[in-house]
Symmetry: C2
Amino acid sequence: MNPDALRGHLDALLLSVLEWEPLHGYAIMEALQERSGGALTVPTGTVYPALRRLERIGYLSSEWATVGGRKRRTYRLTESGRKHLQGERSAWQEFTSVIGGVLRPEVRAEH
Amino acid sequence: MNPDALRGHLDALLLSVLEWEPLHGYAIMEALQERSGGALTVPTGTVYPALRRLERIGYLSSEWATVGGRKRRTYRLTESGRKHLQGERSAWQEFTSVIGGVLRPEVRAEH
DNA sequence: ACTCTATATGTAGACTGGCTACATGTGACG
DNA sequence: CGTCACATGTAGCCAGTCTACATATAGAGT
């Protein structure tokens, strides 16, 4: 998929993946891959900075854990993030409806 | 609407508006505004460079006309552009299906 | 006359967010 | 030992959109 198209929708994807369970960065990348049926491969250089940004804003909180000798930073959705996810979802609805409406091949009415 | 979200979809919008009739830049802006129900206000600094880019690629061709003392550069879809529009349309379908699939609030199965 | 609005096209430069490429380290398996 | 999967992170690039500006005509209103 055209990587450009992701612009402005990545935050929503990340928050959405974290809606039901806290996950660490690597697991988030896997979850995106899996939940998109393999269509979405978001590189580390995209995910990690984005997670930090979302934490800075206050939509996520994180804590370190060590599992099997490996360090993980696990992110969880804050209340503020949960609210924002709702907003992102309705923004997505509006976005697809607007663009889709313009894009839809219109059958010209006879006149 | 978040202007960032337009990224990577503007070409499709422009080609789509030109599908059935050639239009000049200003009319294209109006058409986008109207066909989106007022949600889309694409500024001149976005539209004009984009049209030139699409012409350079070969998806559009243009010619000058003078109507009522005003000069217009009218753009029309080329065959190549028409084909590309098909591709953009299916790309849009896939895009919305992939992102929408990840974004959709999933009701967790009991287990 | 003058002003304002709509019509019409265009460019320079800033901004920004996702991507490429790289750096670093552990554990497991052969 | 080498290689792969796991795991996190940053510097700098890049392309496309936006802001702000420049220019010009026509028509309506005062």
